[in-house]
């Protein structure tokens, strides 16, 4: 009886493995290895995760992560700037092999691109608003013009939940300029990014007055077909080890990002997998 069960188990397992082996073509992984170059989609307007320095080079925390990925794979790195509204399409179309572009890990996005855990970062939604306005609660936004960025999932939430009138621009630069030009009462965005803006000293007349909402983990993504194959498993391991070794916390510090409890908790949890 026992033998029968285990034999049956073995049979099922071999079928399952056989099936998944057949499904895994590892096209992207093989392509990257063959041409000796990985193309990573990153942000170019999201300081300090991905932006252009004064020389015009793409730099930032996520670019450093991409560099590490290329180094571990032993291939060259090519960076392609993507926008919130087209990043998934870039990956789907095969224009990029990997996407590390400040993307929130959302259920409906998982059906389109291969998002793998553990999530490397997390952020909530908040607003950057002039101190002069004195915002107190989210309700203060009702009926007011609020600048946003096209492609951010919380635009709709803020519109529906608090009745704000979202004016969405294609890039962060335009949206922030519109706030400075007083075309809107606030700029709704990730709290972590607003935090770095405030720390930069260029926004002294402004504040982040509300309590962050909708805390959302960030996910990097490989093509959907590669999610459970070599590439996906490899990226999962990369993220796990970034957490375990404290590399993400070090990067956070390097780029002057406010330390998040999330990274500390993860580093502690993964530092020794025997400890609960």
């Amino acid at each position: 009886m026992k033998l029968r069960t285990s034999l049956l188990g073995l049979a099922i397992a071999s079928v399952a493995f056989g099936a998944s082996a057949a499904e895994c073509t590892n096209d992207t992984w093989n392509k990257v290895m063959e041409r000796g170059k990985i193309v990573v989609g990153v942000k170019a307007d999201y300081k300090p995760w991905g932006y252009r320095d004064t020389n015009g080079d793409l730099v930032g925390m996520e670019i450093d992560m991409a560099k590490d990925v290329a180094a571990k794979m032993g291939v060259e790195l090519e960076l392609v700037p993507v926008q919130s509204s087209n990043r998934m399409q870039f990956l789907e179309a095969g224009d990029i092999d990997l996407m590390i572009a400040t993307m929130s890990d959302r259920k409906d996005r998982r059906e389109i691109v291969g998002i793998i855990g553990p999530n490397y970062y997390t952020s909530g939604t908040n607003v950057l608003a002039p101190k002069a306005v004195g915002l107190k609660t989210w309700e203060d936004l009702r009926g007011k013009p609020v600048c946003g960025k096209q492609g951010a999932f919380y635009n709709q939430i803020v519109e529906e939940r608090y009745g704000a009138e979202i004016i969405a621009f294609t890039g962060n630069a335009e949206a922030k300029q519109a706030l400075r030009d007083r075309k809107c009462i606030a700029w709704v965005y990730d709290d972590s990014s607003i935090g770095s803006d405030l720390a930069s000293g260029e926004w002294n007349e402004f504040e982040m007055p509300l309590s962050s909402e909708d805390d959302n983990p960030w996910g990097l993504a490989v093509p959907l077909a590669e999610k459970d194959c070599v590439f996906g498993q490899f990226m999962s391991g990369m993220q796990y080890n970034w957490h375990r070794s404290g590399a993400l916390i070090a990067l956070e510090k390097k780029w002057g990002i406010q330390p998040t409890a999330y990274l500390e908790k993860k580093a502690e949890r993964y530092s020794d997998w025997l400890v609960d």
Binding site: S84, S85, M88, Q89, D108, R109, E111, I112, P130, A132, V133, K144, P145, Q150, G151, A152, F153, N155, Q156, E160, I167, A168, F169, T170, E174, Q177, A178, D181, R182, K183, C184, I185
Partner: protein, 248 residues
């Protein structure tokens, strides 16, 4: 109908025709189409007026007036409309009078982003229209003009009563082309957050990635129809204005 698309969305995760059953998204699409139509009509009318007036000014006696028209054409024809939109809205928008809102912070400029889009795109297409009408005017024989002059027409009368009606017929095919381009260029107004069709479509497929393909196809179809209506109308007009023996 609504149930059909709701079911389809569940069965095929990439084919979520969300604006067929979700009222809010439907509203976005409809308001986007309406804005695109308004933007197109306003820009077509203003750009044609600019073209007619500009072409007339090009034939002015004063070298200064001719110089101004030339400078205008060079300025608008040689810069991308995308850059013009950003420049008008962000740079020139600073200098227009504005009303301070009750919150003490927001200022509402008297020219909104939609206003700037109409101004920028009209002037952009207008620069081409001036040249298009100039070509038509130059095709009117000198003898015709001289005949009008000898009948006692003033310069303005000659232009409006004799030259322009003839020149217009010659210019129509080229004008047609430029106006089609203008309608398609209105999509660039999304750079300054004008809520036209492409802006709304992008909002929808960012919020609902599953609706990406259907929404892209919808945008495609709407532009084909919009431009189709414009081309149809222009062709009808061309035929209606045909003078036997003149052109064609």
């Amino acid at each position: 109908m609504e149930d059909y698309f709701r079911e389809l969305a569940e069965q095929a995760p990439r084919w979520n025709f969300i604006w067929m059953y979700d009222e809010r998204q439907q509203g976005k699409i409809l308001s986007g189409i309406w804005m695109t139509i308004n933007l197109s009509i306003a820009c077509v009318i203003f750009s044609v007026i600019i073209g007619v007036v500009g072409a007339w000014m090009q034939g002015a006696k004063s070298a200064i007036v001719r110089g101004i028209v030339q400078a205008y054409i060079q300025f608008f024809r040689n810069t991308p409309p995308f850059v013009q939109l950003l420049f008008f809205y962000f740079a020139l928008g600073q200098f227009t009078p504005a009303v301070v809102g009750e919150d003490g912070w927001t200022v509402t400029p008297i020219i909104s982003n939609v206003g700037w889009a109409i101004i920028a795109l009209s002037f952009f297409a207008g620069a081409f229209n001036v040249e298009i009408f100039r070509a038509g005017i130059e095709a009117v024989p000198d003898s015709t003009r001289e005949a009008a002059e000898s009948l006692g027409f003033s310069r303005l009368q000659t232009y409006t009563e004799v030259v322009l009606p003839l020149a217009f017929r010659v210019s129509l095919p080229a004008l047609n082309n430029n106006l089609v381009n203008l309608v398609k260029t209105t999509t660039q107004a999304l750079a300054i957050a004008v809520p036209e069709l492409l802006y709304q479509a992008r909002t929808i497929w960012s919020d609902f990635p599953s609706a990406q393909y259907p929404t892209m196809i919808l945008v495609w179809v709407v532009y084909i129809l919009l431009v189709g209506v414009l081309v149809f109308g222009m062709h009808r007009w061309e035929r209606a204005m045909r003078i036997p023996g003149y052109g064609q």
